[in-house]
Symmetry: C2
Subunit: 414 residues, 2 copies
Amino acid sequence: MERITAKYYIETPLDLEKSAAVLAGEQSSGTFIAVPGETEELKQRFAARVEKITVLDTADEPAIPGVLVSGGKYQRAMIEVSWSIENFGYNLPVMVSTLQGNLYELTQFTGLKLMDIELPPSFATAFRGPVFGIEGCRKLTGVYDRPLIGTIIKPSIGMSPEQTAELVGTLAAAGIDFIKDDELLGSSANSAFDKRVDAVMEVINRQADRSGKKVMYAFNISDDIDQMQHNYEKIVNTGGTSAMISLNSVGLSGVKKIADMGALAIHGHRNGWGMLNRHPLLGIEFPAYQQLWRLAGVDQIHVNGIQNKFWESDDSVVRSIEACYRPMFGGYSVLPVVSSGQWGGQAPETYRRIQSVDLLYMAGGGIMAHPDGPAGGVIAMQQAWQAAVDGLSIAEAAVKYPEFGHSVTVFGKK
Amino acid sequence: MERITAKYYIETPLDLEKSAAVLAGEQSSGTFIAVPGETEELKQRFAARVEKITVLDTADEPAIPGVLVSGGKYQRAMIEVSWSIENFGYNLPVMVSTLQGNLYELTQFTGLKLMDIELPPSFATAFRGPVFGIEGCRKLTGVYDRPLIGTIIKPSIGMSPEQTAELVGTLAAAGIDFIKDDELLGSSANSAFDKRVDAVMEVINRQADRSGKKVMYAFNISDDIDQMQHNYEKIVNTGGTSAMISLNSVGLSGVKKIADMGALAIHGHRNGWGMLNRHPLLGIEFPAYQQLWRLAGVDQIHVNGIQNKFWESDDSVVRSIEACYRPMFGGYSVLPVVSSGQWGGQAPETYRRIQSVDLLYMAGGGIMAHPDGPAGGVIAMQQAWQAAVDGLSIAEAAVKYPEFGHSVTVFGKK
């Protein structure tokens, strides 16, 4: 029978093997009460198994304060636990409750983080996964052999549909591939969702008729299920190609319901991620997280960026991008969305580390505040990536490409 | 214009006021780019406001490791930030993205926890909230003037529908008020959801016909939206009165969609809570959390229990129960679900601290492993609560009530 395996980074002041066994017990057939007809075979069938324990270092203080058991050392380890697929089948929420449920409450652990999961091949037929993924998003935008260049409408909130459309017109004329709503904007008092879609898509469609290039705009449809379905249809009916959902705020069942509609590329925004990930020994790591959303059908997912303005390290960002490139069941492709403080200057380092141009590369100020205007900003971003692939340094690229050179002058000081 | 206020417990190595201002900016109209037609008035309309800063203690080390800015002290504070309702209206996911989104990523903070939220009166008309709440759950079970006594089917997973039904029959005959599936069991290989509902409801309905008392069984419907709707209808069609949902695993939009169906009491399981709450300076506190789920329509919500087997302190449990009793808009009642290592011995202390019997009080071993059998276990729990309300000590209650006395003999050692 197929099994699902989860890897946890844990810390415990108690016996390591016993603590791992408590986790496995609590998350499966744990507290057995004698029941008539219950056999050892049945227990074996549904019990979680501790597959592997890799002992790591010890700490003098618990990773999470407030631990009841104190004194002595806190042992860290990587443990692997597996469950039979018979426990929950292809039910994503019950799988999550099994892999990420009450185990965080156990006093046996002073730290616990879900690092990765390994799913069996039969998941490939049970879940459709991303309908578009990397290839589909390239086809929708007509962009090949370089990253998709994108930007976010700012200010996040406060602009009218008309102002938004005007800005979209400027960006579309500048040659941008992708634009998105901010996650703070759904349907605000002065920018009702439907009106914004109408205004923006009119501009995008007009530009597409002229140039043959249709900008992908990810409208933030996050809302109740019925309203998201309405919003989704609105985008489809006006010729849009993408919908954005705040994954953590909407939740797994809601996202899957919408992604299953299958007509739009789903832009997965992971706001709230810091709460789930920022502590090194609590929560979930991206290699596990992104698999759940690929199963739910997300086509694009945020990964932060190299030298970002947030707290996340470059190593963590690289691990996240690589996790997106890891095929699931030979496919289930998802496009990593690089953003946060990007302006093109990070392109060489990003390419050096990931050796791929399969990215949606987003810049805000790097495009809008470019000294040559937004068109210069978009060109500079494309140049940055060409230079990166050609192995040029930032200084060499600045000499070769005038627009990128101007970026370096303005944004390279920080 | 109405405003929504959120209270955060924060820690920062930087200037406190500036850091709070960054949070407010990032989560509203933050990075303003000059846009034609944009006025100061418009900015004021949508900008988040820092309403209050209460300076607390300092720490020598950051609450969350890995901070970039080091050296010096880490200042802790309680801050209040408000947003106009015009920013997101009655859109729960966008509200969550605003209150709990990218702010956790800010390098300004070495700790950030959402402590509480205050919602304006108009939310009362925009959201139906819990259809049943405390009074509705009492009516459905016919239990007044004492806590509802409940239990969880164990082993969590592995029993067939027939075995489950047999156990339910025993518990129903014993006079139990409430039974629930474990959160690890949705539809397993040997306990398909529909078959379990058929088997269990046949027993419950038969017992109800005989005794006039219908046990409330919370079937775990957590799954995809469509499947949850199917599961829900199955329960309704067989005469069931409750459905359980794993809140964090299904997500806000999915839970609201199901709760809006309005025919069953929604039992909200918060597994995964430790991940969101266990660190004192990361995540969310229950007074904020439970409000989101009441808006979504959850009738019962888990709060752990006094002297529980998990990591949570009694003070935290009491705060959670009190948060459930806080009326929202004069109503929106939700029944706190007390569980984890309960056997009746905690009743006096629980009552002493909360001064209420409006609880669903759950015990596993305390009922099933009672020396007089499950019927003795159920009676002992009722006795424990009568004694608690009458102000008896455990020792006094053990003398007065034989079944509770036997509980003390067996479970009182721990």
